[in-house]
């Protein structure tokens, strides 16, 4: 469907929105181009679990009609988006990557879904993910893995691998992810895209199927920093249906993305984000990024955050604990899968058989781990201690942010690993999130954006930027400056180096 004038699918969201608004493109044209791309490549990539062709086209037609009638359009009107299959969509299947919800059609929209619709964004479909967002590779999806568009034999990150792969394969210019321990940033890093975990409470969790309530946060995924900011503004903001939602204005993220600069900023480098387990090419690109920041006028400050060493351990107690409770509702009584109901078995047996059949290994592992950590007798040692670690991490961040405006680190210790490599080694898999987890624990804001390819494997490396809670705009200010400098240095956006599919 490549047009002679413009290649629609390679446009940024900002450009598409502008062209739809000016009438240069119709929303239907844009949507059709992306649906055609999905048709062409998704068999290989497997980014989508469900493509809502009719719904997307209907929304596109509505946007075009609105424009023709001279009605005011949203800032992202007519821009296609890939929605992680963790957000409920009224009338459209929502599976959370799990067999236990196969075929479930929610009777309600998540707040994020509603905000996207209200903003005239065109939702193309639902993207693949690790089951219940538990994983760092999307291999834990009950519906099969997603390939990394840079190398289809490698993982696209997780849990939001479908969203990152959709962006990197030009199936959608925008996507939504959720980040409990890094599930937006880690997939962004390994696919050469941009992903932002807003401050906890910045984006409503209502209708986002819970994994770990105190850590989960939805956020924008895109190919450019500005696109991420535009999407951030659309989905963020107070929601009275989510008690943990922040009742304050959304930080000026778009303005920040349009005015990238690090001049005079103090940028922290935490010594705990280095050492064993970090791939050489990742370390190299990170160091180059730090040098770049210095060139751009930032002051680099070394930081010590000793509690970060305990973050991973604390995370693997808190997240499983909360998930063991959040996932209890999948009991075969009210919705979803029911197995073994032969008229003779009890409800209890049917629940246990259904959960056995409907949950994958990683979910079972975490449910058992969480059940253990919350048991009387273990609570203080495990869950209680993990919550204390959380306090210490928050304090380390507070101390750090007294000295610096933002912190930078590699987003992941390695580039995309081959599908299957860590499939049966949970601890190795968990290490993929070692850099991203501290921000979930503290609830602050963080972004990953591309900072080059690792020389040894030619795969993308992500730079993580961390800002204090409610200072999400700083991510975009710094991110935009770094992105512009890199694109100038490379001569083009990094993603253009990805092989064509």
């Amino acid at each position: 469907m490549t047009d002679s004038k413009i290649d629609i699918i390679r446009l940024t969201a900002a450009d598409i929105a502008a062209k739809v608004a000016s009438g240069e493109l119709t929303a239907v044209e844009v949507t059709e181009a992306h649906l055609a791309r999905i048709e062409a490549v998704d068999e290989k990539v497997h980014a989508f679990l469900h493509v809502d062709r009719e719904g997307a086209l209907a929304q596109a037609r509505a946007v075009d009609a609105k424009r023709e009638n001279g009605e005011k359009l949203g800032p992202l009107a007519g821009v296609p988006l890939a929605l992680k299959d963790i957000f409920t969509t009224d009338g459209v299947p929502t599976t959370v990557g799990s067999k236990i919800l196969e075929g479930w059609i929610p009777p309600y929209d998540a707040t994020v879904t509603r905000k996207l619709k209200d903003a005239d964004v065109v939702i193309l479909g639902k993207t693949n993910m690790d089951e219940f967002a538990m994983g760092s590779s999307t291999e834990n999806s009950a519906y099969g893995p997603t390939g990394n568009p840079w190398d289809l034999t490698r993982i696209p990150g997780g849990s939001g691998g479908g969203s990152s792969a959709a962006l990197a394969s030009y199936e959608a210019p925008l996507a939504i992810g959720t980040d409990t321990g890094g599930s937006i940033r880690q997939p962004a890093a390994v696919t050469g895209t941009v992903g932002v975990k807003p401050t906890y409470g910045g984006v409503s969790r209502y209708g986002m199927v819970a994994f770990s309530s105190s850590l989960d946060q939805g956020g924008p995924c895109a190919r450019t920093v500005l696109d991420a900011a535009l999407l951030h503004e659309v989905i963020a903001g107070h929601d009275e249906l989510d008690s943990t939602s922040i009742d304050a204005p959304v930080p000026p993220v778009v303005e920040a993305a349009r005015n990238g600069s690090v001049q005079g900023m103090r940028v922290g480098v935490v010594k705990q984000f280095a050492g064993e387990g970090y791939q050489a090419g990742v370390v190299q690109r990170f160091q180059e990024s730090v040098a770049l920041l210095k060139e751009l006028g930032a002051e680099i400050v070394e930081l010590d955050c000793p509690s970060f060493d305990l973050a991973l351990s604390a995370y693997y107690l808190i997240a499983p604990s909360e998930c063991s409770s959040n996932l209890a509702r999948f009991d075969a009584m009210r919705y979803g899968l029911r197995v073994g109901d032969d008229g003779s078995k009890s409800a209890e047996d049917v629940t246990a058989l259904t959960r056995e059949a409907g949950f994958g290994d990683e979910v079972k592992r975490r449910v058992i781990l969480g059940t253990y950590a919350l048991s009387s007798g273990y609570y203080d040692a495990y869950y209680g201690s993990a919550q204390k670690v959380r306090t210490l991490i928050t304090k380390d961040f507070e101390k750090a942010f007294e000295q610096v405006d933002v912190i930078v680190s590699p987003a992941t210790p390695t580039t995309a690993f081959p599908i299957g490599e860590r499939a049966d080694d949970p601890m190795a898999m968990y290490l993929a999130d070692v850099c991203t987890i501290p921000s979930n624990m503290a609830g602050n804001a963080a972004m990953s954006l591309p900072c080059g390819l690792a020389p040894e494997d030619g795969l993308p490396v992500g730079l993580q930027i961390i800002a204090p809670a409610m200072k999400d705009d700083r991510l975009y200010k710094v991110g935009a400056a770094v992105e512009a400098a890199f694109v100038e240095r490379w001569g083009h956006p990094l993603l253009e180096e990805a092989p064509s599919l």
């Binding site: 479930w104 929610p106 009777p107 309600y108 906890y200 409470g201 105190s214 850590l215 009275e240 008690s243 943990t244 922040i246 305990l310 351990s313 604390a314 693997y316 107690l317 063991s324 209890a328 075969a332 009584m333 009210r334 919705y335 979803g336 899968l337 029911r338 109901d341 009890s346 409800a347 209890e348 047996d349 629940t351 246990a352 058989l353 959960r355 056995e356 079972k364 592992r365 449910v367 058992i368 781990l369 059940t371 253990y372 048991s375 203080d380 040692a381 495990y382 209680g384 201690s385 993990a386 919550q387 204390k388 670690v389 959380r390 306090t391 210490l392 949970p426 601890m427 624990m441 809670a469």
Partner: protein, 98 residues
């Protein structure tokens, strides 16, 4: 370092309503033992006088006015039900009491 036994895993699986197969029990017991061994480090701070953090943001008193909002229709409520009867969710026999 505290470990976790196969029996404990079986007990936890029952609590969590997971009808694990024998081979799964073996498999998980080994893995969980490794994971618990690794994460048990957190108990280093158990004695420290630090308040636990249950919520990442220090919000309090988020409440709503006592005003009725529209409910789902019974059809919507039951739309995902594996089985239904008399506009109610039909579930297998419930054993045990209260």
């Amino acid at each position: 370092m505290p470990g976790i036994t196969r029996e404990e895993v079986a007990h936890l699986a029952r609590l969590a309503r997971l009808e694990l197969k024998d081979e799964e029990l073996d498999h998980f017991a080994g893995q969980l033992d490794d994971i618990i061994g690794a994460v048990a480090r957190v108990s280093e701070v158990a004695d420290q006088d630090v308040p636990p953090t249950s919520h990442p943001l220090p919000l309090t008193n988020v409440m709503r006015a006592d005003e009725v909002r529209p409910s789902l229709t019974p059809e919507q409520a039951l739309s995902g039900a594996p089985a239904q009867e008399q506009q109610r969710f039909k579930v297998p026999q419930i054993l045990g009491e209260d």
